[in-house]
Amino acid sequence: MQRIKETLTHWLQSGQVDRVLGWKEGDMPGLREPAFFENAEELKSLCYDAFCGPNLSKFLIAAGEKDGVTAVVLKPCDSYSLNELIRENRVQRDRVKILAVPCEGNIDPRVFENRGVLSVSIEGDQLHLTTLYGEENEPLARCFLERCTVCRGGRHAVYDELLCPEAEETPQKGDRFEAVRELEEKSEEERYAFWQETFSRCIRCNACRNACPACNCRECVFDGAALDSRQKAAAVPFEESLFHIVRAYHVTGRCTDCGECSRVCPSHIPLHLLNRKMILDINTLYGPYQAGDSDKGRSPLTDYTPDDCEPNQGKGA
């Protein structure tokens, strides 16, 4: 933490960067929120710990509209999102300076949701909660976000300065496609029922869309008048499903599986499952592909090679 602040202060004071994008304490215990810091004084409130869930990459699009260089603190998985944004020309590489920080997993705020918490802290292998009803402990291992339980490792896809040892290729934790495969096994009717039930919880707050780094159209098709697709009140019960399916298609090949959609959903909809289904299909049909691995090149869906699978060779065709 100390080194993060020192480095960023140095960058600011030496004029290498004009502002810093990081996290500060949020309004509620155990929550952190993205924040811009313009000087050393403001930087004092920067924090970095296991509660810093938000992926900061997307804020760099807005930062790019200001002059100068923005420094950003990136966890390994967030760096893929930024790299993808650079590939899509949404962020100029020379306008950002990236401080790569290590990550040991983010705490899922749902663990202490609705429990009247006054403060949260990590004590050894326990998550310690002070609540209106007294002191409580949760085993830390059970408190991480889903995405961290299937963490793909500590490597940063892009950075300027590394504040952790260059991560060796740490093996993928768990099988991130397990739940997708389980769903695939189900019958069409069961799957439809599952998603209809799940999406019926959607309140169309657009948190997923706003948090998603790949969802960065200047004007969303669901907001714009250009295509008669502007959505107001749902006219049929399929509209929530439609929104999420269309969104999943729009980010296919560009989704890095950062898991922000599921993290921010107030209705606890496992949105990452849709994206992972698309990733799994891409991997199966076109070979393993990780969006954001490179800031150049083409995603399998906007590339063509003569070895590409034929339309009728796909699974389930």
């Binding site: 200047r218 098709v221 714009g224 250009a226 008669d228 980010v251 083409r298």
Partner: protein, 661 residues
């Protein structure tokens, strides 16, 4: 509200036989905006078109929907009719209720319902049509022929003789193709080389023809009239301008183990070689894989013996970029290697060979100097068995489903030639059917069977095995209804032909379509047999389907006529249905540029007015001269910013809505 007219065609009974056309017209009248709807026996007839033009005049129509056959058939007819009456031709939409409805349905009620839905979608689309104006584009007066076999050479010569420049790209070191490997040709038995080589020489000497041998097409961009092609001229390691073709290098080359492709691998050749005596260009080529100098750095004999100083081990592949107005695919075929037919033992028994291998064994320039010998031990065969339809006309995954067309005739030729040269040899032919349509073809086959006493047996061979050093052929004779077992010294498999394996890669580059067997597809199987559905791409020879030499040459000439027709035009009408980005919503992500097959999209930093502010942004720009309106960018754009004139996203969604209503 625009005023729309709907015109439903009976197409005789083609549509009216399955679709209640009056009901379709009646349904159209209920749609808001449709001011006139009627049906007529033949809309494409003079009187039918008059119905449309009269309605445009009387009702002051803004848009026309014709419910008829595929737009590929008569869209142009109806557009011209509308234009005559002063209506923009792009305000005409076709609802295809024939190919997509009446022809594929039997139930009248269902077909009528579907025709109404298709009509409704077209009305929804035409309401959102905007008048478009077609631009013009020029034509590069040069043709590219891909493949230098008899098909490519014939097309090239015909085009060149009409006064246009032609480039031939041939992947082998010499032109000539498969025909150069043949011994005699049916049904006249003239020597293949004797009729082919004059054509090769003629092509080489024609000042309008430019040969790129040992070259391959690497990249194709552009569109009809204006293709840009990158050709990879592979390194020969021999300078074409110096080599005299004297052959001294071939004699001295110490590496002599490479299989001789020209003789189907039946003998070997040196690493530096000229494929055959009449090769054009008569220039040696070094097979880098077998060249000791290129593999190990030690040797250099050919360089020492070459009096012309033509050897250049440092030669690199060369990339050549050229412009063309038309491209002809003449990539030809290859016989299959029948390894998958274990029952025949090809590859296991050296004396089981393919017909092309037999051609080489009978050819005076072949590995046996034209003396028919068994490959195993060089003895003179006594009993020869031919097996027809190996890999053709089958229903399993090992087989091609099609008839390879040429095998019946060449087997009759082989049988006849063998009986003629070596009357002491016995020839048996196992066949499913003997198919010999064609001028003087059946007479030819009958001569083999009757005059030369070739033993034709209707039936297939089930097994070939070795017994006491002899091949035994076990087959069935369906006419005598019994199993037969006969010894054979030589077994010849009349194997199926298949398109050249490079054809698919080429089709992709040309955006030309192919069928399931990788034969190029014609624009229309009957009416446009030598054109690909992709404008400016033409088809010559076997790449389109199995053909014999006379047919190949006729088709090559037909392709040439089409090429000449195109190259003789001063300018072409460009397609006005091009893509356009809505700049203020474009985020410059680059996905559209990546999927554009025509290189029509680029990016510019543009100053835009956004919500009253001036902002500099990177946005997509479409070069409408290059855009072919394929629509790939419109679906690739994540923000739905790219739109296609005449097929706008809004129009397509309106069609979907109309269908789903």
């Amino acid at each position: 509200m625009p005023k729309i007219g709907v015109f439903v065609c009976h197409c005789g009974s083609n549509i009216a036989g399955t679709v209640d056309v009056e009901k379709v017209a009646a349904a159209a009248r209920t749609i808001p905006g449709v001011v006139v709807a009627c049906d007529y026996r033949y809309m494409c007839s003079e009187a039918g078109q008059e119905t449309i033009t009269k309605a445009i005049r009387e009702y002051g129509l803004d848009g026309v929907v014709v419910c008829s056959c595929s737009p590929r058939m008569h869209e142009a007819t109806f557009r011209r009719a509308a234009e005559r009456e002063g209506l923009n031709p792009y305000m005409v939409e076709i609802a295809n209720i024939r190919e997509q409805c009446s022809w594929i349905h039997k139930n009248r009620e269902e077909a009528t319902e579907k025709a109404i839905v298709l009509m409704r979608a077209a009305v929804a689309k035409v309401k959102r049509d905007t008048p478009l104006t077609a631009g013009r584009s020029g034509v590069t007066r040069r043709a590219l022929v891909i493949g230098g076999g008899i098909a490519g050479l014939s097309t090239a010569l015909d085009v060149a003789n009409a006064g246009y420049e032609v480039d031939i790209v041939e992947k082998e070191p010499t032109i000539g193709g498969k025909m150069a490997q043949l011994d005699k040709t049916f049904p006249t038995l003239d020597c293949s080389a004797c009729i082919l080589t004059p054509k090769m020489v003629e092509a080489a000497q024609n000042e309008n023809i430019n040969l790129y041998t040992y070259s391959e097409v690497e990249k194709v961009s552009g569109y009809v009239g204006n293709f840009t092609v990158t050709i990879r001229k592979k390194a020969r390691f021999v300078r074409e301008d110096r080599c005299t073709g004297c052959g001294a290098c071939m004699e001295k080359c110490p590496s002599r183990k490479a299989k001789n492709e020209f003789n189907c691998g039946l003998n070997t050749r040196s690493a530096i070689y000229i494929p055959f005596a009449q090769a054009i260009p008569n220039v040696a080529v070094i097979d880098a894989q077998h060249c000791l100098k290129l593999q190990t750095g030690k040797c250099g004999v050919c360089e020492k013996v070459c009096a012309a100083g033509a050897i250049d081990y440092t030669q690199q592949d060369e990339l050549i970029q050229r412009e063309y107005g038309a491209i002809v695919a003449a990539t030809g075929f290859q016989p299959i290697r029948p390894y998958q037919f274990g029952e025949y033992g090809y590859g296991r028994y050296p004396d089981v060979i393919t017909s092309l291998e037999l051609e080489r064994l009978m050819n005076a320039a072949g590995p046996t100097d034209g003396e028919l010998r068994c490959p195993s031990d060089g003895r003179k065969p006594k009993n020869i068995v031919f097996i027809q339809c190996v890999g053709s006309r089958g229903q399993t995954c090992r087989d091609k489903s099609y008839c390879s067309k040429i095998c019946c005739m060449y087997t009759a030729k082989h049988a006849m030639l063998i009986r003629d040269h070596w009357p002491d040899m016995d020839v048996h032919v196992f066949y499913i059917d003997v198919r010999t349509p064609g001028k003087n073809f059946d007479e030819f086959y009958r001569r083999a069977a009757e005059e030369y006493q070739v033993d034709y047996r209707k039936g297939q061979v089930g097994k070939i095995y070795e017994e006491d050093g002899h091949l035994m052929v076990q087959g069935s004779d369906l006419l005598e209804d019994r199993q037969v077992l006969m010894p054979a010294d030589l077994v010849v498999l009349a194997v199926a032909v298949e398109p050249s394996p490079d054809a698919r890669k080429l089709a992709t580059m040309l955006t030309a379509s192919m069928d399931n067997n990788d034969f190029f597809t014609e624009a229309h199987p009957k009416l446009r047999p030598v054109e690909s559905p992709t404008a400016g791409i033409f088809l010559s020879g076997m790449c389109q389907g199995p053909k014999d030499i006379p047919e190949t040459v006729s088709q090559a000439g037909a392709a040439a006529a089409k090429v000449i027709g195109l190259l003789s035009k001063k300018e072409l009408t460009a397609n006005p249905c091009t893509a356009h980005p809505e700049e203020v919503r474009c985020n410059g992500c680059g996905e559209c540029e990546k999927v554009c097959p025509y290189g029509a999209i680029s990016y510019e930093e543009k100053e835009l007015r956004v919500m009253g502010r001036r902002e500099k942004r990177r946005v997509a720009v479409v070069n409408t001269a290059l855009c072919q309106g394929c629509g790939a960018c419109t679906v690739a754009c994540p923000s739905g910013v790219m739109d296609l004139q005449g097929f706008s996203n809004r129009q397509i969604l309106a069609e979907v809505d109309a269908i789903c209503r």
